[in-house]
């Protein structure tokens, strides 16, 4: 019994310690935002890697999701007034929830893994140590550019994803469900409010921050050897995904519960 309690206590302490470490790491990252030197070239590079190159996967995901959403809403008993209900719910669902969450998850899969693998490999091949001896702070040179780029790029990805998702719904609505094209667009535009869109973009920024921070944190704390890098990559993707869902719930509660 005592042994059980002790091991439970150890597990809880371990979890708390790693939460503390992650929070500290995130706070340190942000603090470097205000202290030079800065590395604009690294930032631009990260922007391309994280933002530009994620466009295809985010766009495709959003397109198919928007289409499927339209079919589901139509099939789910909303046949009465479907011309109005389908476009409005597709728009709201995409912009408030699915756009940011799916976009965040796709970026987590694509970006958290590659950041963790890259930085983890740098760690095990002593490149991080080498950076330090060359008077370059790895937090400034590696972490901050990636975290900043992701925080700025993911909202843009979300905005693009929202539009493509709504377009997916439109394509399905007009071609499969025989809705009137002009009415579909009108119902979408009439129903969406600015706050719907902004809240989704704020979520996107939060998810981008989470994804890049988890990638960098797990990479920097990678164990030794190929196995260590593999483990770091897995932890980065899993923790980023779980944190995205948790943050999504908290932000939704904040934005819409009142």
């Amino acid at each position: 019994m005592i042994r059980l309690l002790a091991s439970l206590g150890r597990a809880v302490m371990g979890a708390l310690a790693s939460i503390g470490a992650v929070v500290l790491y995130a706070a340190q990252t942000v603090s470097h935002l205000f202290r030079p030197p800065f590395y604009p070239r690294e930032f631009l590079n990260a922007l391309i890697q994280i933002g530009w190159l994620s466009l295809p996967v985010v766009g495709l995901t959003a397109f198919f999701t928007g289409g499927a959403l339209a079919l589901q809403i139509f099939a789910g008993g909303s046949r009465y007034g479907a011309e109005e209900v389908v476009p409005s719910i597709v728009a709201i669902g995409m912009v408030r929830e699915l756009g940011p969450v799916l976009g965040g998850l796709m970026v987590a899969a694509r970006v958290a893994s590659s950041i963790a693998a890259e930085i983890g490999t740098m760690k095990v091949t002593e490149q991080i140590d080498a950076l330090t001896t060359l008077s370059t702070n790895p937090m400034k040179y590696l972490t901050l550019p990636r975290v900043l780029a992701a925080t700025l790029a993911v909202p843009v990805l979300v905005a693009v994803g929202d539009s493509i998702g709504i377009f997916g719904g439109y394509v399905v609505g007009v071609n499969r469900l025989d809705f009137n094209a002009a009415t579909y667009i009108k119902n979408t535009v009439d129903f969406l409010e600015g706050w719907d869109i902004i809240s989704g973009l704020v979520k996107g920024a939060a998810f981008g921050f989470i994804v890049a921070t988890m990638g960098c944190y797990h990479g920097m704390n990678s164990g030794r050897g190929a196995q260590g890098v593999g483990r770091a990559t897995k932890s980065a993707v899993v923790s980023a995904s779980v944190l995205i869902f948790a943050a999504n719930y908290i932000l939704t509660e904040l934005f819409f519960a009142a």
Partner: protein
């Protein structure tokens, strides 16, 4: 002067350093020898503040490593890592000139490139490797690029972790001469880890032999052969029998 006093370092249950005491005079060349896995690389990383000792103090010119201001402290050092540790996202010349392209030592790009190519030439590499990526080079070439990077900003204190491992005998000779030259002509302080006894004799002013976490013998290289120290004798002559067990 670098002064190590009673340095201890443990990784988990592995008690690597168990009270290392050592002094390296300014402008001298110290060579560290010792069996594989005895903590030589860890010792160098302790001096650079990359690894924090559990106990003991390290002073560099009267400055404590743990409390010194990091940027000016590190600006005085150059380090060749055992695995070269080149940045594989950057071409060779940007690796070599890394320090000259950013931070306090920053200079124009063309000048930095010229310096990089000159340093590459000093480690026996032709200018055409400058635009290659590290992954395109052989192990020995990567090592030499790492060496060129370590000396690129003309540091006062240079650490070489196995500079000649993986090089052919001629290239080893070139590198040994280079290290000797950096110490005698530029007045740098050097610490070199090597397993190659030819290198030891070519590079060292003083040597220190590490075994079982402590310095077993230290002294001028001229006294190495007549030290009477059983550990050192076994090591120099590469005998399987002696106080150092062959299986560690």
């Amino acid at each position: 002067m670098i002064q190590l006093t009673d340095i201890h370092k443990t990784f988990g249950s592995n008690h690597v350093l168990r009270g290392v005491n050592l002094e390296i005079a300014k402008g001298s060349s110290m060579v560290i020898i010792g069996g594989s896995g005895t903590g030589k690389s860890v010792l160098l990383k302790c001096i650079l503040g990359l690894v924090h000792p559990d106990q003991g103090t390290i002073m560099v010119d009267g400055q404590n490593v743990e409390t010194a201001s990091r940027d000016p402290f590190l600006a005085r050092f150059g380090m060749l890592f055992q695995g070269a540790a080149l940045f594989d996202s950057l071409p060779v010349w940007q690796n070599v000139a890394f320090r000259l392209l950013r931070g306090s030592l920053k200079r124009p790009k063309t000048e930095a490139r010229e310096i990089a190519i000159e340093k590459l030439r000093r480690v026996g590499l032709k200018p055409d490797v400058a635009d290659k990526f590290p992954a395109e080079l052989s192990g020995g070439m990567q090592k030499r690029v790492g060496l060129a990077r370590a000396i690129a900003a003309d540091p006062e204190i240079i650490f070489f972790d196995e500079p000649t491992t993986g090089l052919d005998p001629i290239m080893s000779g070139v590198i040994n001469d280079l290290i000797r030259e950096i110490v005698t002509e530029m007045g740098a302080t050097a610490m070199t880890i090597t397993h190659d006894m030819t290198s030891v004799r070519a590079i060292a002013d003083n040597i220190a032999m590490i075994h079982e976490g402590v310095v077993q013998w230290t002294g001028p290289v001229a006294q190495m052969d007549a030290s009477g120290n059983p550990y050192l004798d076994q090591f120099i002559h590469g005998r399987a029998e002696g106080p150092i067990a062959a299986v560690r």
